[in-house]
């Protein structure tokens, strides 16, 4: 069985080949050894495509890249950026039609004494700018819609 996960922009492939009493595990084609079905003492949790693992005292948030059991809804929102919390639009740095690069700050919100930067999740073009400087926004209100490069 193969599983693919994304972590910090990188793709990892895990393969588990059933054997007697467990699996032979490989990561990215490199064989690591034998594991039992529940042998890794790492608390995990899942929600949609997201998988969280607590391992070696740290928290890792992975995304299922293939074999996702319920990834559809998460994927549909990828190009719509919404307000993570209620606040006010402090600055807008892009205009409709503009090309933007992954990580570029599109606008900032001010909420709860904090400045929140809204960044482009990937390269693309601003399809629609739904707010202007000074606007009050509700949580989940659409801020920007992006057209991805590859679509």
């Amino acid at each position: 069985m193969k599983f693919a996960y994304q972590y910090r922009g990188q793709l990892y492939e895990v393969e588990l080949i059933p054997t007697e009493g467990g699996y032979v595990a490989s990561v990215d084609g490199r064989r690591l050894g034998q594991v039992g079905p529940t042998s890794l003492d790492a608390p995990t949790a899942r929600e949609g495509r997201q998988v969280w693992i607590h391992a070696a005292g740290r928290t890792f948030a992975l995304q299922r890249a293939v074999g996702s059991r319920s990834g559809a809804s998460a994927a549909s929102g990828e190009q719509t950026l919404r307000a993570p919390m209620p606040g006010q639009v402090r600055s807008v740095f892009v205009r409709a039609g503009q090309q933007v690069a992954a990580g570029q700050v599109l606008l900032t919100l001010e909420a709860m004494k904090m400045e929140i930067r809204i960044q482009a999740p990937g390269d693309g073009k601003v399809a629609r700018l739904a707010v202007a400087q000074g606007d009050s926004v509700e949580r989940e209100q659409i801020l920007v819609e992006l057209e991805s490069e590859t679509s």
Binding site: V14, Y23, V27, Q34, P37, A42, R46, P84
Partner: protein, 509 residues
């Protein structure tokens, strides 16, 4: 307090003039106040906005009342709705927590006008300290050291003239402000006009008051504050200092007591100054006098007074053995402080880490989610003050503080070690948080050495990234997908990996 064990305060505690306390807040501080109420035998009433329906603070209180929609202005900041909830629940006192209406003198007056006990300082003291310009003047009068600065006439011309006298860098600050809003650092004269204009605009928008003051800016200063406690019979005590220099976005992240930089002499001086500041405004109840300490000159300067309980109060509780929230309630009930300054001591060292629902790798952007899995660390000297339990949804409508982890040990080194172990054993899955960041922050050699300043986090951790992914985490994720609920168990956690163990083990933690 520990050294007074023979007096057995609780046994001799007079009956309180109220039996029910309305908690005008949410999150961990509302949970904290409800616990103090229960420990004192008082009934507690929680209030909640629609966004907080079912939140932990509503479950630990004896009663919970909805007070409006998620917007704070229509719920937690709505004086009339909170007073109405107090009336409906038969509350005899109101505890405001911190934030929201806690430093709002009109609210305190409205509570008192409704015949309820206000668990906080006299409104006049709140007002005196809330006005930064007036407070500066009062402190100068009371002999409390303030930073070189200027308050009063604030026309651009007057400010320019004062700025030249103070020298650069300096700080333009909202006179009515607090918490870093309406505040600008000015490094040279040429930047002054723009800073005045933008600070005034922000001050007007945020506080409805555009008045400004100036203060000298200390670039590598330490934030050291002193906890004070005053009863309503004129007695003031200080409960020593807290060092809060580890901040991001001008908000505290890690606090400790004692401060690694104070000696006994400086500690006593700052304590005396804090008591003088409190006395100058006729203070009562718990409050905090914040100072900026210049580590070069070892001079301290009054910054502001927070006229309420603070987020970081647990570190003071751990080293003094005093329950500050219980004392807030007892002072509000008219009790006298039964101990003297000389009875109080700092015992051991306590550190608090604030656990925020935020992304330290993306400018500390706050986020929400659900605490799908939550396991707190345990054992000696470990304290948890949490606003959430496992399974709870985390709204991103309010402050992103989820919980506070406090470690107490005989000395600073042991407390840091204990905190490192506790952080690494905290399991919180389902939302983005800063626990890994806190681990890296506390492991920095300068933090271990106690060389802190308020710019440290932003200077040293601007480019922080989450840890590299260990292979064991990938395998655990994949094995989790294969795992099934045991056939004979209906309600067990399907994600528990503990059903059996074989040879392969995860690398050290």
């Amino acid at each position: 307090m520990f050294i007074h064990q023979s007096q057995d305060y609780n046994c001799f505690m007079p009956p309180l003039p109220f039996t029910t306390v309305l908690i005008a807040n949410r999150g961990e501080i509302a949970v904290r106040v409800a616990r103090a109420c229960r420990e004192l035998g008082l009934r507690s009433v929680a209030v909640y906005s629609q966004a907080d329906a079912g939140a932990l603070h509503t479950r630990v209180a004896d009663e919970a009342l909805e007070i409006g929609p998620s917007e704070a202005a229509q719920s937690y900041l709505n004086i009339e709705r909170i007073l109405d909830a107090a009336r409906r629940s038969g509350a005899g006192a109101v505890h405001p927590g911190y934030g929201f209406l806690a430093e709002n003198a009109e609210f305190a007056e409205a509570v008192q006008a409704a015949g309820l006990v206000w668990v906080g300082p006299p409104p006049a003291a709140m007002r005196a300290m809330g006005d930064k310009a007036g407070a500066r003047a009062l402190m100068i009068e009371a002999g409390v050291p303030v930073l070189p600065g200027h308050q009063g006439a604030d026309s651009p011309a007057a400010l320019k003239k004062a700025a030249a006298k103070i020298g650069f860098p300096l700080l333009v600050k909202a006179a009515a402000g607090g918490g870093g809003m309406g505040q600008r650092v000015v490094h040279k004269a040429g930047e002054l006009d723009e800073a005045i204009a933008s600070a005034r605009q922000e001050a007007k928008r945020t506080f409805g008051d555009g008045r400004l003051i100036l203060e000298k800016y200390l670039p590598r200063a330490r934030h050291v504050e002193v906890q004070v406690l005053g009863d309503t019979h004129g007695k003031f005590l200080h409960l020593f200092e807290r060092e809060c220099s580890l901040q991001r976005r001008r908000q505290k992240l890690v606090e400790e007591s004692p401060s690694p930089v104070l000696d006994e002499g400086l500690r006593a001086e700052m304590g005396t100054a804090a008591v003088a500041a409190a006395a100058a405004v006729g203070y009562a109840n718990a409050g905090t006098v914040e100072f900026l300490l210049d580590p070069q000159t070892r001079q301290f300067h009054f910054l502001e007074m927070n006229t309420r309980i603070q987020v970081e109060h647990p570190v003071t509780e751990m080293v003094t053995g005093l329950d500050l929230v219980q004392w807030q309630l007892r002072i509000a009930a008219g009790e006298r402080l039964p101990f003297e300054q000389s009875d109080l001591r700092q015992e051991g060292h306590a550190i608090e880490c604030r656990i925020y629902a935020e992304d330290p790798a993306a400018g500390f952007l706050p986020g929400g989610g659900r605490a799908l899995r939550l396991q707190w660390p345990q054992g000696s000297g470990v304290r948890i003050d949490s606003g959430i339990a496992e399974g709870d949804a985390v709204a991103s409508s309010y402050d992103p503080l989820l919980a506070k982890l406090i470690a107490h040990a005989p000395d600073r080194g042991a407390a840091l070690q204990r905190m490192a172990v506790a952080l690494s054993q905290t399991v919180l899955l389902g939302l983005t948080h800063n626990i890994d960041f806190l681990q890296d922050l506390l492991a920095h050699p300068q933090v271990a050495a106690g060389e802190l300043d308020t710019g440290f986090v932003e200077r040293e951790f601007a480019d922080w990234q989450p840890p590299e992914l260990p292979k064991a985490a990938l395998l655990a994720a994949a094995l989790g997908e294969l795992r099934d609920v045991p056939a004979n168990v209906e309600a067990t956690d399907p994600y528990s990996p503990w059903a059996s163990v074989s040879g392969f083990r995860m690398g050290g933690a």
